[in-house]
């Protein structure tokens, strides 16, 4: 299975994985030939390493795609296997951080994303890689809100009489406050906030909400929402009608392809590196 994480791409080989997995992974890569060019990757063997020369062939295609496979995680005896393939042996596989949801696990907790959504995941791996690399260089993935410009617009707007509403509505930086906005957010408007955002009203397609904390929409979220924009994977997005054009939490991206016309409020959060959507009432996430 191919997975994109904060530290880059990861090829995960389950214990019982046979050679078929290799050809599947090669096919996945060739589908988007140069999308992952220049990204770093590691291989994780949950079981015994694949001794066959098919693995060597796999390594060649990985390098052909310009992916720098620099290390292998796995059980102890992986050392010689790693040297044979000129890879660094990195020891035990990293334990995925799973925040426990408590006993009352809701039965149909996760509206599982469809196959098409999962393929989107792979599609966005390159994008995630790029964001991760830029964060490593200290840049935020989202352009820092330009407070000076917003203030100027607001100042300018005040003096020039009936003029156009400022496209960017922002709040003074510093205290991670919550930006409260009443009224429908129209296409093309963007709310950026260090902290949380609460919107009472709809967020129409084409509008964007970007917050470093949580996002709550007391209405229909049809536009794009990006919570935990500075890497906070605990951030959540909730709405009475969650039908976003696109949903991002920290570095995870998902498009709501599931045709679930839920009649109830829902919340989206991160569970093992992926965005999960659950009915708000049952999610037990208070």
């Amino acid at each position: 299975m191919l997975r994109g994480t904060k530290s880059g791409l990861e090829f995960v080989f389950a214990a019982d994985a046979g050679d078929a997995v290799l050809s599947d992974l090669t096919a996945r890569l060739s589908e988007r030939p140069d999308f992952y060019r220049g990204s770093r990757a590691t291989a994780i063997f949950q079981g015994a390493p694949l001794e066959s020369d098919a693995f060597a062939g796999f390594l060649d295609t990985v390098r052909a795609h310009g992916i720098d496979l620099h290390g292998v995680y796995g059980a102890a005896e992986l050392g010689p296997f790693a040297e044979r393939h000129a890879l660094a042996y990195l020891g035990e596989p990293p334990r995925p951080v799973v925040t426990s949801l408590g006993q009352r696990r809701p039965r149909k907790v996760v509206a599982a994303l469809t196959e098409r959504a999962r393929s989107l995941e792979a599609d966005f791996a390159g994008a995630r890689e790029d964001i991760a690399r830029r964060r490593a260089r200290g840049e935020t993935s989202v352009a820092k809100p330009d407070f000076a410009k917003a203030a100027a617009i607001r100042a300018g707007a005040a003096s020039a009489g009936p003029t156009v509403a400022p496209p960017v509505l922002t709040v003074t930086p510093g205290t991670p406050a919550t930006l409260y906005h009443r009224g429908t957010l129209r296409g093309g408007q963007i709310l950026q906030q260090i902290g949380n955002i609460v919107v009472v009203g709809d967020v129409n397609p084409g509008a964007e909400l970007v917050a470093s904390g949580d996002i709550l929409v007391f209405g229909a979220l049809r536009g794009t929402a990006h919570a935990g924009a500075q890497g906070d994977t605990a951030a959540r997005v909730a709405a009475l009608e969650l039908a976003p054009t696109q949903l991002r939490i920290a570095t995870c991206i998902a498009a709501d392809d599931v045709k679930h016309k839920a009649r109830e409020p829902e919340v989206a959060f991160i569970r093992d590196e992926r965005i999960a959507i659950a009915p708000y009432a049952k999610a037990g996430l208070r």
């Binding site: 156009v164 509403a165 429908t184 129209r186 296409g187 397609p205 049809r222 498009a255 709501d256």
Partner: protein, 287 residues
């Protein structure tokens, strides 16, 4: 030279002289939409003609510099001598640039410049011009250009109220929504749904008025059915609002009387069946 016809007609109205009680300032309304080709110019011409037919003194301002069309829809293209920029650049008096409609007496047109750029008009000049017109007319309807660039900003700068024209079609609704987001917050824009085809709505092939309202959430001013008669009227250069037995004309007259303040029952929508909305789930939520 062609023989000069002799014909006695009433001259152009004069600005009210100082001592007359200064009439209350007219209402400046901008007709906008974001997306082009949804019927802004046709709506401006027909609502203007209908208001004038009710005896109101109306001026139509074509703010679409470089893409002048209001004159052709009204059939006055031959009578335009001076345009907005001439007045703003003091090359002509406002009186000379005002062209009177050939069908309705109290309807006047101030045409756009055809060979100039939108950036040639400054926002302050536009506001000044609209103020001048509000002093002399009860209604100043401004035909706004498509898009959200300089032309759009100048068109809405002088106005105090907006009518958003939208066709029941996905990208038109989205662009209208974008424009409403750019209008000053204290305005209460009203919606006109244009070119509705009830048969298509029943077949679920076209958005219903409810679907459009679900996104835009604006008070509904009028619904205009899609009739070939409109193309014929534009070809002839005669507003269809003056045609008694045309359903489209009636719709425009209804909008005009609603603007003139007589309380007219809200627009009834013939389509009762479930809209396109329910069949395809949330409108933009995907298939």
């Amino acid at each position: 030279m062609e023989a000069i016809e002799t014909e006695i007609t009433a001259p152009v109205p004069e600005a009210p002289v100082g001592d007359q009680p200064v009439a209350p300032l007219g209402r400046a309304i901008v007709i906008t939409s974001g997306k082009g080709g949804v019927g802004k110019t046709t709506t401006t011409a027909n609502v203007g003609a209908a208001l004038a037919a009710l005896g109101k003194r109306v001026v139509l301002v074509d703010a679409d510099v470089g893409l002048r069309n209001l004159d052709i829809v009204l059939g006055l293209e031959a009578r335009v001598k001076y345009h907005v920029l001439d007045v703003i650049e003091n090359k002509a008096e406002l009186d000379d640039a005002l062209v009177r409609d050939k069908n309705v007496d109290s309807l006047y047109l101030l045409a756009a410049a055809q060979t100039r750029e939108k950036e040639d008009v400054s926002t302050e000049a536009m506001i000044g011009l609209i103020e001048q017109l509000r002093a002399r007319f009860e209604f100043v309807l401004i035909d706004c250009p498509a898009g959200i660039e300089t032309g759009f900003r100048n068109a809405i700068a002088g106005a105090g109220h907006a009518i958003v024209v939208c066709t029941p079609e996905v990208s038109a609704v989205r662009d209208a929504d974008r424009v409403v987001g750019l209008l000053p917050h204290d305005w209460k824009p009203e919606l006109v749904v244009n070119r509705l085809r009830p048969a298509l709505v029943r077949k679920g092939k076209m958005l219903s008025v409810e679907d459009v309202d679900a996104i835009l959430r604006l008070p509904l001013l009028g619904v205009i059915p899609d009739e070939p008669g409109i193309i014929i009227a534009t070809n002839k250069g005669r507003p269809i609002a003056l045609d008694e037995h045309s359903p489209v004309g009636a719709a425009y007259r209804q909008i005009a009387s609603r603007l003139a303040g007589n309380d007219v029952p809200p627009p009834t929508v013939k389509v009762a069946e479930p809209g396109f909305f329910s069949k395809f789930g949330s409108l933009f939520g995907g298939r």
